[in-house]
Amino acid sequence: MKPVPLDYVVPSSVEEAVAVLHEGGGEARPIAGGQSLIPLLNLRLATPATLVDVARLPELAGVTVGGSSIVLGAAVTHSDVEHSKELARSLPLLPFVAGHIGHPPIRVRGTLGGSLAHGDPAAEWPTVMALLDATVLAQGVTGSRRISARHFCSSFLTTVLEPDEVLVSIEIAQPSHRCRFAFSEFARQAGAFALVIVAAMAVIHDGVVDDVALGVGGCGSTPLVFTGDALPLAGERLDDTAIDETARVVSSSVEPPSDIHASGEDRREIARALVARTLRGLGGPPPNKGWAP
């Protein structure tokens, strides 16, 4: 199948992009790499009248690593993140996660902003940015606003972005150097869409989990974040008992969807195993080590 007839506009600034989107009255959509959007166009699950190309807008470009925060332009590709030497130094979780997205031809075109705006709860960036409590910067006709990544996805493939808004950048507060991360995903083939995604971050002191948060994707209509007291292993030693109990509690509290790829119960079992595996991955030597494969 082919997309419906549509207009294609290349604005030269975010202001111009916003104006075109606003004029489009909900029938105009932004396009960046198109790796999530064009499949929808080809299957006619999306039928916009106008596409507004934001891939080359200067405001959406670049990776900036400051002292206390990292700012990623929305048009930064997954491949840019995967190969960024700056990010490998300052937050290696991000290049590690980026390398899990699809296949290389998808990664050189697909963008961080596009993935977030697409709002798939079983995608890597919505889950990881929610875990990191990142801030999304969006610009619309009424101006700019900052949106917490934990409240960015409102439902399946739906975000809180207004039709005239362009996602400009994502800001991540530089985590403590004592923070450890782990990430894993389960898919039936490497590179296929993940069924369940788990990302974890924790500060571990003398073998005791001081501070912990867990991001889970694919188990609800939005990514889910579990923090502090919701997790049995908070304040406990990072051992099998605490890990397995946490995996049990998390997997029994979610209501994963059923579809042609897996039943809800299958996803629940996968989530339980993946949470345990990911938490075990936190146990590696610091700092920023302990990747779950």
Binding site: D7, I31, G34, V108
Partner: protein, 169 residues
């Protein structure tokens, strides 16, 4: 009357000017407007890899690119890497190792390996696997494709060291 857009795209070394609809996919532009039918449309949602072409030297899915987005860019298709007579080293490897049956996926594999080995002639096994992962084959069961990839790397390594020899002279 649907709006059309003028594009100027370098395709296999030649500058091509055309007028295309906004929705025209690159794979269809190549196949139907330019008659370059070596690039195949398998799934039209990016997962099968048979539409793989090079964009500025890097492997991408032509079924997930609007032709209008390609204005000013450089595209290489399977026709662009095939010599006038005979086969290029990656194609020769597929021939030697019987890495194809119906051939539908073959341009996808050849373009993927061509791009990888051009940049990394000594790519590790893991890098080869990662690259091959992105193309699906329904005929062969992949064993001979893997052998072809190893053979292609061997030939690429020879080519790379030949180049260095020439540079020293």
């Amino acid at each position: 009357m649907t709006r059309t857009y003028t594009v100027s795209i370098e395709i296999n070394g030649q500058q091509v000017e055309a007028s295309v609809e906004g929705r025209r996919l690159l794979v269809d532009f190549l196949r139907e407007d330019l008659g370059l039918t070596g690039t195949h449309a398998g799934c039209e949602h990016g997962v099968c890899g048979s539409c793989t072409v090079l964009l500025d030297g890097v492997a991408v899915r032509s079924c997930l690119a609007l032709t209008a987005q390609m204005n000013g860019r450089r595209i290489t298709t399977i026709e662009g890497v095939t010599p006038p007579a005979g086969l290029n080293p990656v194609q020769q490897a597929f021939w030697d190792m019987h890495g194809l049956q119906c051939g539908f996926c073959t341009p996808g594999f050849v373009m993927t390996l061509h791009a990888l080995l051009l940049e990394r002639p000594n790519a590790h096994d893991e890098e080869l696997r990662e690259a091959l992962n992105g193309v699906l084959c329904r005929c062969t069961g992949y064993q001979n494709i893997w052998r072809a990839a190893l053979r292609a790397r061997e030939l690429a390594g020879v080519a790379a060291s030949n180049t260095h020899t020439e540079e020293r002279v």
